[in-house]
Amino acid sequence: MVLEVKKPRPLWEILFSTHHTDVALLYLITSIVFILMGGALAMTIRTELLTPGPTIMDDPALFNRVFTVHATTMLFLWILPFISAIGNYLIPILVRYKDMAYPRVNAVAYWMIPPGAALIWLGWFDGGWYAYPPYSIISSPGPSAEMWIFGLKILGISSILGAINFIVTILKCKHPDLPLMKTSLFVWSILVTSFMTLVAIPPFAAALIMLYTDRLGLSGFFDPNAGGDPIAYQHLFWFTFHPEVYIFLLPAVGMAYEIIPKFSRKPIFSYGSGVIAFGILMIIGFMSWAHHMLATGLSFAEKTVFMIGTLAAAPSSSMHIFNWIATMWGGRLKLAAPLKFTIGGIMLFFSAGAGGVVNTTLPLDFITHDTYWVVGHFHLMLMGTISMIFFGFTYYIFPFVTGRMYNEKIANVTFALIFTGTIIVFTMHHILGLLGMPRRIYDYIADPDLILGNQIASIGAYLVGIGVAILVAHLAIAAARGKEANMEDPFGIGEQYYDYRVKEPHH
């Protein structure tokens, strides 16, 4: 399944290796396993909403548990491990070092994911991935909630270890002949997100502990009966998870910067503006957390500040988009699967951003708040943009991982299915939201418009599901029987590819 250098190693040696490409392989396989499992839950959710009333589940509480585990899985067990996978593969190559700075810490960071994932998947917590009090502290059943809390704590520590490792590798282990301003923009994206991780995770780590002691009855931080404030939790939560949105997004942007110049056979239009836009987004990520809470009774001044802080993300995001367009402009495009997925991702990035502008505009937020509009908006970002570019990058990195090629025709089919499916399901979510369908619900009014909208959305979701299933199955088969790749230029674009010789194990 994997390209090796010099001698084939037994499975356990790969499993317990500290070499960056081996750890990256584990991250990659983990993330793909969990997108399948989280995707299965997504299909369950869409099937349940196919008709009003109970469709396949009798118990509304089960629905809550399913969407909680779906969200937690997709965010922390698909997107974050995938970023770590690609970071582990490419950062040492791009900064020209033999490995990550701390190889053992790297392996430990990976091995914290399975126990964290096991806690989340065994517990089936029912309070939503946001775990808002008071529900999560006074009535969410235990010990599943405790399992979720500790699962997320473990994953948070894993993220921090990974972030420290990336920062030290990039800043301290970079080849002395290579200035930071000459590295790939992907390196910049990982550097920026690692700094954001270090700042963003601790408040939520604290909030989780407070949630836990509140559940034990030892404290009442978020319990109004004990003088606490549930809104305080939301501030802590979103102070972590709004930057986290950029932690998810920026690596995808960095991957697009890897793919687009190569498949356009042109250098990046403006390297400097890419770096500046990363820097601005890093700051803005921390300036706009309360836009998730515009409807919680903030004062008008606070709301205005956070509305403007949020809108400030639009220009720097556009800097990236225009940078990509200008790079592709006049280039000799090789429309292979990686570039197709990336372009699809850019298109949906624009749509998601436009929806975001609507969300943050104060009067409109009160219409869209807590409706399916919001679900459509952030799924366009997480699925339509981030996951689309990730799928493209999976195809791009595939020859480097396995030494074999995927089939371009099948890749095109998966692109068509995933792209159209994503548009159908998440555009429909926006419309359902405007029709007044609240989010996170198991049942809805038997109104013909709502039924039709939900059924169209479910069909779109099934298209995505089929597309991802074909993608993963095809890559699994291609890893075993695919055509051997030309390791110097597998895509035939005349650009340099990553040197497979770094895979030689050295410790």
Partner: protein
Amino acid sequence: MTTESKNLIIKSSGRRTAKGIAIILIVMVVGAAISLAYKDVWSKYPPLRVLNQKQQPQTPVETIPTGEKRTFNLVFKESEDFTQLWFEMDGVKNPDIEVSLGDEITINIVNSGLMPHAFGVVSDPNDVNSVIFNSAIGSANKPLSPGMSESATFKVTKPGEYYYICLVPGHALQGMKGKFIVKESKGSAVTTPGTGIETSTPTSAETSGPLIVAEGNTLTIDMQFKESEDFAQLWFESNGEKNPTIKVKAGTQVTINIVNSGLMPHAFGVVSDPNDVNSVIFNSAIGSANKPLLSNNSASTTFTADKPGEYYYICLVPGHALQGMKGKFIVE
């Protein structure tokens, strides 16, 4: 890259890859199976704080006389417009249930309405979490679906006056509430089976409170919107009287000066049907459901009551009349 180094590439054979994929699939399937099979195991208990709270009041165990076995058959009922909800037993609305200490009670309940409901004997009718005797059938989170029936058997272990209500929040306020009285009996139970049920009069909303009668052709009333601290009870107050009945002669010019001394928005209107906030008559409205009078504001209205009949004055904000903001307005 030289041809030398090319010779060193080893690409996994199909068989080795298939082995790897098989291992991943087995881990996935086994993991998912364990996770799904035991999905309920880890969510059996309430949060520890709740468990701790329950253990605190350690009352000494009293010896409870063994009583009789009694069975009550209740039905959840709803009016067609869902504004009135009640329990029914043998055709009686919300009967008082009277039992003796130590009796073993069996409640058979049928949900014949269209909404989900749940049953429980509670110590505080305004708190759906105050269920006692382990008497709950369903809960607010897991209510009895329409058409379903279920039963519960429990022992009454403490004398006192309790209530049986629907545990879905708000339903008790809409009328799903009856008295559940546990009498202390010495020795063997005295009451004969069957007499435990008192055919109580269906609680009528027509509470004839204090009276305000118009003298002459004009009447001016100073009124206030009032709320209880927990917002469960709402009422009008005039000169310290709760929801006074207003009696005027046809053609009287009535002036209402009203102050909202609560924290919620309210609106005033004389209506022909107390369950319909759109049935305002005499042009008597102060504010409306969409544009109510905010907290600490006051307003007044003057209108001529020109048509004889029995009307009501209510708060026009939907639901407030049900919570008590309702009084009679009689035009003679």
